[in-house]
C-alpha cells in the first residue's frame, strides 16, 4: 500500500526504528515523535502504516495523535513561528505580538502561508519569561518584541534566505 519508490523514502528508516524497540505498543508516543521528525507531519497514511506495524487499530493511533498538541496531521511551513502564550508573556503583550504576526504574514494562528515558508502557531511557556513577550522561530528565541518594525526585520531575514531549488517531500 505504501509508496516505497522514491530514493529518500523515510518508511524503511521508520520500520527499522520500530523493529529495534524492545516494547512496541507501549512506545507508540515515542514512535510518533520519531515519525514526525522523519516526515514532518503525521498524515493518515502514515498513521495507518504505524497501526499495522504495531498490530493495533488505526483508531487508537489516531486517538493518540489527535490528543496531543505536539503532533500535527498537516504539513508545516519551512519555518515554524511559535508565539509564547504563557501567562508571563500574556500580561506583557503576547496577544499584540500574535496579532501583529498574523497581520504581517496574512494568516491566522494555526495556518501556513501560501508559499509554504511560514507556519504560525502558539505554545505555552518556553521559560524565557524574562524576555516576555517572546516568539520562537525553528527553536531560536526572539524576545522583548514590542515594535512591528522589529518583527518585520526578523521575518525579512528568513524571507531573504536563498530558496532551495526543490522541496522534496
Amino acid at each position: 500500500m505504501c509508496d516505497h519508490a522514491s530514493s529518500n523514502d523515510p518508511y524503511p528508516g521508520l520500520d527499522e526504528y520500530i523493529d529495534n524497540l524492545a516494547y512496541k505498543k507501549e512506545n507508540l508516543i515515542g514512535i510518533l515523535h520519531y515519525a514526525q521528525e522523519l516526515f514532518g507531519y503525521l498524515p493518515d497514511k502514515l498513521q495507518w502504516h504505524i497501526a499495522q506495524k504495531l498490530d493495533i487499530p488505526s483508531a487508537k493511533v489516531y486517538g493518540v495523535v489527535s490528543f496531543y498538541s505536539f503532533f500535527t496531521m498537516k504539513p508545516r511551513g519551512k519555518h515554524v513561528i511559535n508565539v509564547c502564550m504563557g501567562t508571563a508573556c500574556f500580561v506583557r503583550g503576547a496577544e499584540k505580538l500574535q496579532a501583529e504576526l498574523e497581520k504581517q504574514l496574512g494568516i491566522k494562528t494555526g495556518q501556513t502561508t501560501s508559499d509554504n515558508l511560514f507556519s504560525l502557531d502558539s505554545l505555552r511557556c518556553i521559560g524565557a519569561c524574562g524576555l516576555a513577550p517572546v516568539m520562537m522561530i525553528d527553536g531560536k528565541v526572539y524576545g522583548r518584541l514590542h515594535e512591528p518594525e522589529e518583527i518585520r526585520q526578523i521575518l525579512a531575514e528568513y524571507r531573504s534566505e536563498p530558496k532551495l531549488a526543490t522541496i522534496g517531500l
Binding site: 490528543f67 505536539f70 501567562t87 508571563a88 511557556c125 521559560g127 524565557a128 519569561c129 524574562g130
Partner: protein, 627 residues
Amino acid sequence: MKLSNTDALNALKAQSRVLLENRRVSNPVTTKEAQGLPRNVLICGGPGCHSSGGPKIAEQLEEELNRRGLSEQVKVFRPGCFGFCEQGPMIEIHPDNTTYCEVSVEDVPTIVEEHFIQGNRVERLLFKDPNTQKRFASDLPFYEGQVRIALRNVGYLAPENILEYIAADGYQALAQILALDPASVIDVIKKSGLRGRGGGGFSTGLKWELTRKSEAKQRYIVCNADEGDPGAFMDRSILEGDPHSVLEGMLIAGSAIGASYGFIYVRAEYPAAIRRLQVAIVQAREHGLLGKDILGSDFCFDIELKYGAGAFVCGEETALIHSIEGARGEPSVKPPFPAQKGLWGKPTCVNNVETLANIPPIILKGADWFAGIGTEKSKGTKVFALAGKVRNVGLVEVPMGTTLRQIIFNMGGGIKNHKLFKAAQTGGPSGGCIPTQYLDTPIEYESLTAIGSMMGSGGLIILDENDCMVNIAKFFLEFSVDESCGRCTACRVGTKRLHEILTKITEGNGTLDDIDKLETLGEIIKDTSLCGLGQSAPNPILSTLKYFRAEYLAHVVDKTCPAGVCKSLLKYQITDKCQGCTLCAKHCPANCISGTAKKRHVIDQERCLKCGACMEQCRVAGAIIHH
C-alpha cells in the same frame, strides 16, 4: 570507571574536588589579588540568558582569552540558571566573586582587558539597584532572603559533568541509604515534613510508604517532569542545571519503595532538559550508579526517559501514567491510587522534579535540619518562577513562610514602570489571584488555599493596575478549555460555558445574571469533575470574583473596563488638546474621524472599530484618550 563501592565514590570525590576549587569560594579575593590565580568564569545557561546571547558570549570570551594568552588560567563554564533572568545575560567571575549583568558580545574585549589583564572591575556592568543607584559586584539584593536547597547546584555546577556533581557531595546520600533499612529511609523523609512540590502538597514520605506497602514483585518510581503551568520554569531549570540531583533522588526513592525501574516523563518542549538528562543517565551508568549492584550493594536500578507530547492534563498522575503506557493521557478514577495500582497495574510512586531534588540534601543533613526550615505544616523551601509586571523577573527559592510582599518587593524589586500592584497569581490555571490585602500572608500550602488560591507548582505572576482581572480569568479559562481532555462532561462542557460567559462579559454583553451563573457553574464543576484539572479550573474565576467583583460589575453594569484592556468596552475620545494635525483621520481604517485642519477632530462613536490606530498615530500627549 565503574564505582564498585562507597570507598571508590569517596576517592573519586576527593580527586574531583579540584574542579570546584576556584568557584564561589568562601573567602573571595579582590580582583587585583586574583591576578595570576586560576579563574573560573560562569556564564548563565538558563533559558532566558541562553536566548539573549549566552552561547555567543561564551564563544567570544574563550576566543578572546585564547588570543590574549589567558586560556590556561581562565576557564569558562556554562552552568544552569542563575535565577536573575531580568538582568541576563549574566556572568560570574571567581575567585574574586564578581557578577556582571546584561553583558553583550561587544563587552567581551572590555571584560578581558579591564578585568583579567588590568585587574579592575568593569563598573558599568555591575548590578545597579534602581532605588539606591548603588552598584553590587556580589551578594545582589535579589538573592537576599533566598535559601537554595532544590536549586543548590543550579548555576554552580557544569551540568554535563558528573565529576562536578560528585565533587559537590553528589551520590553521597545514595551511598548512605544503601546501608540503611528502607523503612528507616522512609521515616527520615516523613519526619522531614517534605510535601509534594508539584502543587498537591501530599506528604512525600507517606506516598513512599503507601507504595512500599502494596504487595507486588515490581514497583515503579516516576519523575513528573511535565511542567505544564504556563509561565513556570522551575523544573526546567533543575533538569537543565542539575540533572544528577533528580537521578539521585529517584535512586533513593527507588531503593526506599522497592522499585528497580524508574521513568522520567519529560516535556518534548524542553529539548535542552532532555539532552542533559540523556547525558546524565549515560554518565551515571558508566559510573555504575545506575544498573546492577549499585556501589557494591544488591540494589539494581535503571531509568528510562519518556517524552510528553504537549498535554497539560498529563501533569495529573493517572493521566501521566496512561501517557507513559502509550495511550491518550486521560485521567482515571482514584482509588485505586497509583501507589496501589499504577503503571501497567503495578504500584507506582509519582514525584515531581523539585520534590526529588530535595531528597539528597535531606538524607545528608537530616530530617531535623529540613524540618527546621519553613513553617509548622510546610517545611523546607519552595522555588517560584517570578514573572509578569515585576521589575526582577527570575527564579527564586525561599523558605516556606516567606510573605508574598518579601518576594515581590524585596527580591522582585517591586512593580515595573512605577505602576501599582494589583494581584499575584499563583498556581497557574488551577490557582487564583491574591489581592493587596493578603500580601503579608506567609506562603504555605494551607494559607494559600484558605485565600482561594493554591501553592501550585511555583508559577508566580504579578499583575499591575493595567491588567483586567476578567480578562485574566478568561485567559486561564481559555487554557483550561483547550487542555480539558474531554473525558468528563463537567469539565469538557462546563469550562466551555464559563469561557463563553466571560467572553460575553468582556465584549460588553454581560448581565448580572451571568455573574451568578459563573459562580454556580464554577462550584458545580469543582464538585463533579474527575481530576484535578477540572476541579481547579474554575479557581481563576472564583478568586477574581471574590476579590475583584467590582471590576466584573463595571463590565456588566457600567459597560466599562477599568483597566482599559477589553477592547469592546473602550471608548476613544479626542480632547481639546487636539491641534488638528489630521494624522488620526488619515490613519483611521473606518474613516470615522472628522474635522478640518488645525481644528479639534471628532470620533464618530457609532462607526468606531476601537482599533486604537488613532491613538498610536497621535503625537500630542493627552489629545486622544480612552476610557
